[in-house]
């Protein structure tokens, strides 16, 4: 059977993420209680897996690393149609950069067993690095295609996919097993169905801590991360704003006048 692993991330709800600020005095983050949601682009990854499940009779494993609350997003993916879920959760995994995250996920994938395809969103809304997919592929010693926006051909071993480029695309031929990171253009994710939620209640999520995963503390979390945040700084606004007031008509008139005087329209 064709086996797919979908790697997903619980991220601070983008609608509220702006509430997380740097406190200028303490140089720490002001609040961390923003609710966690499934990273937007991971929904496209999940949708690809679900489409392949229909076409190829595939089996979908959902994998995440995060705090216990991240179990909810794994559950959500099971409700969307995933077959089994795994959550890698341990205090020791905390503070991981992309390198340590990719390493931990790769170890999780190795422990889960054989796979044909790994998919994840091209980036997370909180980190936006795009590193985890390719670094995971490097650790698993398999090829990766990032920014996949079209599956052109699904052969037995060799697939053809398009990946987005500045003003264009590259057509890639790739031998499975491989990692794909996907863009929003790839597909339109379906919403949760009531029956899916009911079915997901019976599906188990396996949680592994550092001992169950069988990795050394030095290789994961902050200790396993080559990079660290050395400083947090606030930035002062660079311009003095002139607020234009009045009725809509007056404001529009004044703005046009000022821009005309500045010679920019």
């Amino acid at each position: 059977m064709f086996k797919i692993v979908v790697c997903v991330k619980a991220v601070p709800d983008p609608k509220e993420a702006h509430k997380i600020k740097i406190d200028p005095a303490t140089k720490t983050l002001t609040r961390t209680d923003v609710p966690l949601v499934l990273n937007l682009l991971d929904k496209n990854a999940m949708e690809l897996a679900l489409q392949l499940k229909e076409q190829l009779d595939a089996h979908i494993t959902v994998l995440s690393m995060g705090p216990p609350a991240a179990g909810n997003i794994v559950k959500e993916c099971l409700a969307l149609g995933g077959n089994q879920g795994f959550l890698l959760s341990d205090r020791a995994f905390g503070g991981a950069d992309a390198y340590a995250t990719a390493y931990t996920l790769a170890k999780g994938i190795e422990k889960i067993g054989a796979f044909d395809l790994i998919v994840c969103g091209m980036a997370s809304s909180d980190g936006s690095t795009e590193w985890v997919g390719p670094e995971m592929a490097a650790f698993l010693k398999i090829p990766v295609v990032t920014r996949v926006n079209e599956i052109v051909e699904t052969g037995k071993e060799w697939w053809k996919v398009k990946a987005s480029l500045e003003n264009g695309y590259r057509l890639m031929q790739v031998k499975l097993p491989a990692v794909f990171t996907v863009t929003r253009e790839l597909n339109t994710p379906k919403s949760l169905s009531f029956s899916g939620i009911i079915k997901a209640r019976k599906k188990e999520i396996t949680e592994w801590n550092i001992h169950q995963l069988g990795v050394s503390e030095k290789t994961v979390g902050q200790k396993g991360s080559p990079t660290i945040v050395s400083d947090l700084a606030t930035v002062d606004g660079k311009r003095t704003v002139e607020l234009i007031s009045g009725t809509r008509e007056e404001k529009a008139d004044q703005l046009v006048q000022k821009l005309a005087e500045a010679g920019v329209i």
Binding site: E166, V241, V264
Partner: protein
């Protein structure tokens, strides 16, 4: 004698055998860093028929160019490119490695970083050396700026967008050493770039447009977005966006301005329905005149522009469009 630090590296990128502007910008910045570190600037260039352009890398500040020049290297080939750079880095131990955050650079950089077991910072908007000569890699986050360092592992790797650093002055008298590279024999060949297709972008390119109108989540829905697009069209401007607008699917990723998108410096910037997150604002810091239209008077954008209008953009922008048209008609009749 003090131990000589490893060189500062730039992985140059070419499209259709032309070196990208970002590669020269990074060579310029590498020169500044290397002078402080008392070390050299080295560039890796993989492509085909690249000979004619190498002197430009020297003119921009490179001391040495590692050159892979073969038809197989015309397109970015993930396995071959990664393998060549990894081997070279293991042999020459660069202190710093800079890569443009293009689509290709954004895939290649993490492949190289993971193989070298080192850190990599995405979309830096500044690179400075601290007292201990460690590279502070600045990125905007959480309404401020954070510094990321890679204290122990080498090279210290970062990706940087085009436009973050200026085009360096070219010194045509500078020369350097060219070191030819062989393509390694034992490549697994499990992935291949078959074709690269470039399409002419629609509309006015963001990077060269005198006027940029950018929209954000405040558009609310596709109809709201259309209003912002109409404003852009009225002004014959390029239409830009923030990450949330792209995530909503209102506009293509190519339109995104900021840290992980494009850096632009138009004569006039109008930000509509966007809060002014630093990730976006760093991309338009060079604009001459800046305007914000947002219904939230407390939005950070009102501290970063010249003119502010606190109003619902969906109501205000249509009125503004009418006034601009009136002004434009007057200009024509004068």
């Amino acid at each position: 004698m003090e131990n000589q630090l490893g060189p500062v590296w730039v992985i140059a990128e070419q499209i259709d055998c032309r070196i990208l502007p970002v590669s020269f910008q990074l060579v310029g910045q590498a020169r500044i860093l290397a002078d402080r570190l008392k070390t050299s600037v080295e560039t890796v260039l993989l492509g085909d028929q690249m000979d004619a352009q190498i002197h430009q890398l020297f003119a921009a500040g490179a001391d040495r160019v590692y050159l892979g020049n073969a038809p197989e290297l015309t397109y970015y080939q993930p396995e071959i490119y990664t393998e060549m750079i990894v081997r070279l880095a293991k042999a020459h131990r660069p202190e710093i490695m800079l890569i443009g955050s293009t689509s290709v650079g954004t895939e290649l950089a993490p492949l190289v970083a993971a193989r070298l077991h080192t850190g990599l910072t995405a979309h830096c908007i500044d690179l400075v050396l601290d007292d201990k000569k460690i590279l502070e890699q600045k990125i905007p986050a959480y309404g401020g700026m954070i510094s990321i360092i890679c204290p122990e592992k080498r090279p210290q790797m970062a990706t940087i967008a085009s436009g973050v650093f200026p085009q360096p002055d070219l010194d045509e008298n500078r020369t350097g050493e060219i070191v030819p590279l062989e393509i390694p024999a034992e490549i697994p060949h499990r992935i291949q770039t078959l074709e690269i297709v470039r399409e002419e972008p629609d509309g006015i390119p963001l990077e060269s447009a005198p006027i940029v109108v950018a929209g954000g989540a405040g558009a609310g829905d596709p109809e709201g977005w259309k209003i912002i697009a109409d404003l852009s069209e009225t002004l014959n401007a390029a239409l830009g966006s923030t990450r949330p607008a792209v995530d909503e699917g209102w506009i293509e990723l190519e339109s995104m301005i900021g840290q992980s998108g494009k850096m632009v410096s138009p004569e006039l910037y109008i930000g509509v329905g966007l809060s002014g997150e630093l990730q976006h604002m760093v991309g338009i810091a060079g604009a001459k005149v800046m305007v914000a239209i947002n219904n939230d008077a407390k939005a950070p954008i009102f501290e970063q522009v010249d003119y502010g209008i606190v109003d619902d953009c969906r109501e205000f922008v249509p009125v503004l469009i009418e006034k601009i048209k009136e002004y434009q008609e007057k200009l024509v009749t004068c």
